[in-house]
């Protein structure tokens, strides 16, 4: 007996679907289940309904943690987007040395985020790092710059370390967007008297907007949910908890306080908030161009 094509497709995707079910959907449902349990590794595990959520949502530090999470993820994504667009515009304009610069610029892509945190932590070190020293040499500051003792600067530091690792991806995506624009459009704009700013605003940006938008949403989702850089650069959330974000909060409940019920409910909150960004990502990805 020969299967019809559609049946064949189903058979072919069975192993893949099994992985999706076992590896993703089961743990995904399990975390929701744990979030309704009292699971603190002290008392017996029993169902508690919404008690975990109530406790997390009533936590007086939650609002500031959420604000920091937004500052971190939007700050990192904003810096990434700005740098990537500038890089892509420049790389798109040059011919000689283009491959050379592109290879150098994408190198951070291969660096684990955790290492990025360590490297930048040391670069920003007030006594032994080069950044403070160089700023003093050019007389921009008069005494060593200690970003770890100023909440806003610590946040800026982790944002730089995070964005540094994310710029390559968005640069490549944006560059590909620019390169897919037919050159005759630029010529037509030039004939109509448009200068570089006009063409960038009215030709390059709108025509490359779709990949840029999706790439930016991916970057935003990633920096919203990952804490590697924060964990290695400012352990424990840093001075005055200035870089303590939702992911770090979740991780502390799981790893430091071993309260799995609360950690699970914080996980669910992280899932929901990430999905608020992810919904746009799904929408624009599925929207036919």
């Amino acid at each position: 007996m020969k299967l019809r094509n559609s049946g064949y497709g189903m058979v072919l995707s069975v192993p893949g679907l099994a992985i999706l079910l076992l590896w993703v959907l089961i743990p995904f449902s399990y975390v929701f289940y744990i979030s309704f349990l009292r699971y603190d590794n002290i008392l017996p595990v029993i169902p508690t309904g919404l008690a975990n959520y109530r406790e997390v949502l009533k936590d007086p530090s939650l609002p500031i943690i959420l604000i920091r999470t937004f500052i971190f993820s939007f700050g990192s994504t904003g810096l990434t987007l700005l740098t990537s667009v500038i890089l892509a515009v420049c790389l798109n304009r040059i011919v000689r040395g283009s491959a050379f610069f592109r290879s150098l610029v994408v190198m951070p892509w291969a660096v684990p985020l955790i290492l990025s945190g360590f490297l930048w932590a040391w670069m920003f070190h007030p006594s032994f790092g080069p950044i403070s020293d160089l700023l003093m040499k050019v007389k921009l500051i008069s005494e060593p710059l200690n970003i770890y003792k100023k909440p806003s600067m610590a946040m800026a530091g982790v944002i730089i370390a995070d964005a540094w690792r994310r710029i390559p991806f968005l640069t490549i995506i944006t560059l590909a967007g620019f390169q897919s624009i037919p050159p005759n459009l630029y010529e037509a704009a030039k004939v109509d008297g448009a200068d570089s700013f006009h063409t960038f605003r009215h030709v390059s940006l709108p025509l490359a907007s779709r990949p840029m938008l999706i790439g930016t949403l991916i970057t935003l989702m990633f920096s919203f949910r990952s804490i590697d850089v924060i964990y290695s650069m400012t352990p424990g959330g840093g001075y005055a908890k200035s870089t303590y974000v939702l992911g770090a909060y979740l991780f502390d409940y799981m790893y430091e306080f071993l309260n799995f019920g609360l950690a699970a409910s914080a996980s669910v909150i992280l899932i929901i908030l990430t999905f608020a960004i992810g919904a746009f990502f799904i929408y624009y990805t599925l929207k036919k161009g």
Partner: protein, 280 residues
């Protein structure tokens, strides 16, 4: 004013100047890591800091390799990443191919499910994974991390592969079938050989995701001889001070494998990401 700006922006040298500045920013951590790996421990704690190593020494690279279990960490990373990437890519190839070429009722929903899965924060699934692996008595094994790594990049890989196979010339498959090749035979004889470079590029992306992963092995593994390199970097973080020079040496060892894979596949990755991931 505006005309003056346009003149500056349009100048032939402008992109090179801007690129030079930003490239310096992008490679500065590499430079600092490269320089520090050849300094002595005391020189890394000097104020003001030195830039070029005063006493250029290979001892640091040597010590990091021989006194810390760096070779073991690297071996573990390689095993975990290669095994998980292999499983993901094999399973993902068939799924992606089916979703692209043999659509069935509900296949679009499956595709949407994969897309949705990409929005789940891996951090939020660490806890259920930890508990399940504990019940399966798999904690403190490399297999535990392999399990998690499969979850980590599987949805992305299927999605990229589906987009990649969308561009595969259907006529090539059809003509093979007309010539008497079975559908499955066509996959092995036609599709995989022709698509090899694209699949390879996507495999490199999955490999790099796996190489980058820190928290899962950090939670699942407590024995030094089983840790991957990302967790192994903590070997140099002490209670009193961090051995920055050795960590930089270890960082170089950690970056080299994924950088090599990446630079070799760069051309295909760029093509794969831009055609598969974004052009639906």
């Amino acid at each position: 004013m505006r005309r003056a700006l346009v003149k500056i922006v349009d100048h032939r040298a402008t992109p090179y100047v801007v690129l030079g500045v930003i490239t310096l920013f992008m490679i500065s951590p590499f430079i600092w890591m490269g320089l520090s790996a050849f300094k002595t421990h005391s020189e890394t704690f000097r104020y003001p800091p030195t830039y070029f190593p005063e006493n250029f020494t290979l001892d640091t690279m040597y010590e990091a390799w021989y006194k810390a279990p760096i070779p073991t960490y690297l071996k573990n990373s390689l095993i975990m990443c290669l095994v998980s990437t292999f499983i993901i890519v094999v399973a993902g190839t068939f799924t992606g191919y089916a979703l692209s070429q043999y659509q069935y009722k509900g296949s679009n929903m499956v595709l949407g499910l994969f897309l949705f899965t990409r929005t789940i924060p891996p951090l939020a699934l660490l806890l259920p994974y930890y508990l399940v692996l504990m019940k399966l008595r798999l904690l403190n094994t490399r297999l535990a991390v392999v399990f998690y790594l499969i979850y980590l990049s599987y949805p992305l890989v299927v999605w990229l592969l589906k987009g990649f196979f969308d561009q595969f010339p259907r006529a090539l498959i059809d003509s093979a079938i007309v010539d008497g090749c079975s559908r499955t035979g066509a996959i092995f004889r036609i599709v995989i050989p022709v698509a090899a470079t694209g699949v390879y590029a996507i495999a490199v992306v999955a490999f790099m995701w796996a190489w980058n992963e820190f928290f899962a092995p950090f939670l699942f593994i407590h024995y030094d001889e089983l840790k991957p390199i990302t967790v192994g970097l903590y070997y140099f973080v002490g209670d009193e001070y961090t051995y920055y020079n050795r960590m930089c040496a270890a960082g170089i060892y950690a970056v080299i494998p994924s950088l090599l894979f990446f630079l070799l596949a760069q051309k295909y990755i760029v093509r794969g990401l831009t055609s598969g991931a974004l052009k639906y």
